[in-house]
């Protein structure tokens, strides 16, 4: 205890020197914290991106970009045996269909408007699975009930709220689709307008309705955890071979983001180690100087009964206090200057082409959706499907990257103090050991 108190007081024996050392160590550590802050900001970003991309894969017809049943037909038997793969949690085949009512004989403006209102995106969903919406996301039931296994093959539908409103539909009313009447058992709402104009059918009902027995347009595969996504893709490709494509929703995007983030993290960790090393050297040389200056005093302390342990504790503590004082200066420098620097840096990193390339902004997605909705008759969904195919995940990546804040947090403070403690102990170690080796008779001789 007394050793600690003396060690603490010794720090202030040369105030000017301590101030200079604290400033130097503080500069180094504030740089270090900046690097740590950047690194954790990047880690957060990466986690956000990974979470938004999720663990979902798609099995699609060969050559399709994912969409309205384009490309080769995809048969259900592609899925045979896949459930047995240990990393796969669920396989959800879907049927995605763009339904256009036939124009009535009259023609003219009113007839076109009628068609526009009644056209719909149809999703065939396996009962008890989420109401997936084409282009990403799921719709949630707002009224009525969900599909049960008994509904499979029956003439029932769940209708998006916006579609229901436009066509004056409620739960219990009937929906006409290719001259067949379906009973509306529920209404559902999703995150975007596209979801709200979707009509959901039980999977088998959809197969019957669009003459797609034993077929699907694609299947979603949920993998148990993110690290297993890559290996599962490889296994699926192995199992399925030429029959279908296996794609991860934003595989390429994720990779590109991850790569540039990794690069940033590499740089920050080099910066961090440089900062730590600089701080450590400053502490080391200061303590070495201190010990050399106090050689005689160390001899006296030994002569009057200080054990090596007492000396070591005193010097280690002195060194730690010095380093923590540096850390406090570092915090002040970081909060006043470093934080803004880091935020600016992070903003630059985020807007580099490597990160934004291939990422569709939410605005763009909205635009595409809008275009799909209002695009008129000619080639209504042509091409749009491919954009929407990787749009949702991409959109959220970009929005994640948009608002980067590099802040000082409790975690950062803890890490900084740990670093300061380590620096103090390590930087003070050799000088303290040097002090222990001093022989009192020798150092006391130079009177």
């Amino acid at each position: 205890m007394h050793n600690l108190r003396r060690g603490f007081r010794n720090v202030w024996r040369s105030k000017v020197r301590t101030a200079i050392v604290a400033l130097l160590v503080g500069l180094a550590l504030s740089l270090g914290v900046t690097m740590m802050a950047l690194d954790s900001a990047v880690a957060d970003q990466l986690a956000g991106v990974e979470a938004s991309v999720g663990t979902e894969l798609e099995i699609r017809p060969v050559g399709s970009f994912g969409g309205f049943g384009r490309g080769e037909p995809l048969f259900m038997d592609v899925l045979n045996g896949l459930e047995d793969m240990p990393t796969i949690v669920e396989i959800s085949p879907v049927i995605v269909y763009q339904y256009m009512p036939k124009m009535s004989g009259l023609g003219g403006r009113e007839a076109i408007e009628e068609v526009m209102r009644q056209r719909m995106a149809v999703m065939g969903i396996v009962p008890e699975q989420p109401l997936r919406v084409f282009g990403g996301g799921v719709a949630e039931l707002t009224e009525g009930r969900l599909f049960t296994p008994e509904d499979n093959g029956s003439l029932v539908v769940i209708v998006g709220t916006e579609y229901a409103e436009q066509n004056d539909l409620v739960v219990g009313s009937m929906l006409l689709l290719d001259e067949t009447e379906y009973e509306i058992i529920g209404l559902a709402e999703g995150e975007h307008r596209f979801a709200n104009s979707t009509v959901f059918l039980p999977f088998q009902t959809a197969q019957l309705a669009f003459a797609m027995e034993d077929q699907m347009t694609q299947a979603y595969v949920t993998v148990d955890m993110l690290p297993n996504v890559e290996p599962t893709i490889a296994m699926l490709r192995d199992a399925i071979g030429e029959q279908a494509d296996v794609v991860s929703q934003a595989e390429a995007t994720l990779e590109r983001v991850a790569q540039s983030m990794d690069m940033v993290r590499g740089t920050t960790s080099v910066g961090l180690w440089l900062a730590i090393a600089t701080g450590g050297l400053v502490i080391f040389f200061t303590m070495l100087l201190t010990v050399r200056e106090r050689q005689k005093e160390i001899g006296v302390l030994k002569a009057i009964g200080s054990s090596n342990g007492d000396l070591l504790v005193g010097f280690a503590w002195e060194s730690v206090v010095l380093s923590v004082v540096g850390a406090v200066v570092g915090i002040i420098l970081f909060v006043t200057v470093g934080q803004f620097l880091a935020s600016r840096l992070m903003a630059n990193i985020v807007s580099t082409p490597a990160v934004t390339q291939g990422v569709v902004t939410p605005g763009a997605v909205e635009g595409v959706v809008g275009q799909i909705r209002g695009g008129g008759g000619r080639g209504l969904f042509s091409g749009a499907g491919s954009i929407a195919g990787f749009s949702m995940a991409g959109g959220s990546i970009s929005s994640q990257l948009g608002d980067v804040a590099v802040n000082f947090s409790a975690g950062l403070l803890a890490r900084l103090l740990a670093v300061a403690l380590g620096l103090g102990l390590l930087g003070g170690l050799l000088p303290a050991l040097y002090a222990l080796r001093l022989r009192p008779a020798e150092v006391l001789r130079n009177e």
Binding site: H2, N3, R6, R9, N10, W12, R13, K296, E297, V300, L301, K302, A303, I304, G305, S306, S307, N308, D310, R439, P440, A441, L444, R445, E447
Partner: protein, 229 residues
């Protein structure tokens, strides 16, 4: 063993760049308990070397040292530290107080190293023994005169109630009046506290104040003068 200090056949060799300096050559010396003793001799004759070896600050190249019966030549470094702390108090020519500690804190230091309780109380008692005025207790060393600093140093040497006090030219930096006061103080410690005090001095007038004087020459004890009745 009623000798406080006993050196038997003690030699100390230094080798500097191949040259061997024999700082002590087969020295024998016995100092009884509660005796005020002095070591005199020309510069370089080995006085400091002998005192340091007595006090366990240095080790002999050969020979045996017994301090209060403890065979210092046989002890490990840790044992030596522990015994030194308990048995010996050191006083130096240039006082060697810790500059950023007050007088009383300097005296508490050896008590803290010995992990004894009530350090403040014991330190006060020691400062009183060393006759430092109470008004000076909170002063830093650089706020004290040389004589006052040496009193603090003596109080510090007394802190753990050692049997032996070793002082290398304790009056070397003081004027003769102050020096005499310090010598009188040390003398009282032998008489009243039954301490064994060994000082090195260049002053013949101080040497005659002591009961036993070892005169050194070229690393040997040339003569011992015993003034005990």
């Amino acid at each position: 063993m009623n000798n406080a200090i006993e050196l038997k056949n003690v030699s100390k060799l230094y080798s500097v760049k191949g040259n061997i300096v024999e700082a002590l050559q087969k020295v024998d010396l016995s100092i009884p308990s509660a005796v005020f003793a002095s070591i005199v001799g020309p510069s370089g004759s080995g006085k400091t070397t002998m005192l340091n070896i007595m006090g366990g600050l240095d080790r002999p190249s050969k020979g045996e040292i017994y301090l209060a019966g403890q065979p210092f030549h046989k002890l490990s470094e840790t044992e030596l530290v522990a015994h030194r702390r308990r048995l010996i108090g050191f006083v130096f020519q240039s006082y060697n107080l810790i500059p950023n500690l007050s007088a009383i804190e300097n005296v508490e230091l050896p008590l803290e190293f010995a992990r004894s309780g009530n350090t403040r109380q014991r330190a006060l008692a020691c400062l009183e023994m060393a006759e430092l005025p109470t008004s000076r207790h909170k002063h830093r060393p650089n706020q004290l005169s040389g004589g006052e600093q040496q009193r603090v140093a003596i109080a510090r040497a007394l802190a753990n109630d050692p049997a032996v006090i070793l002082a290398d030219e304790p009056t070397g930096n003081l004027d003769s009046k102050t020096g005499n006061q310090i010598i009188a103080l040390l003398k009282r410690l032998t008489e009243q506290e039954k301490k064994t005090v060994v000082i090195i001095t260049h002053s013949p007038s101080i040497a005659v104040e002591t009961m036993l004087t070892a005169e050194m020459l070229d690393g040997t004890i040339d003569r011992t003068v015993n003034r005990q009745k």
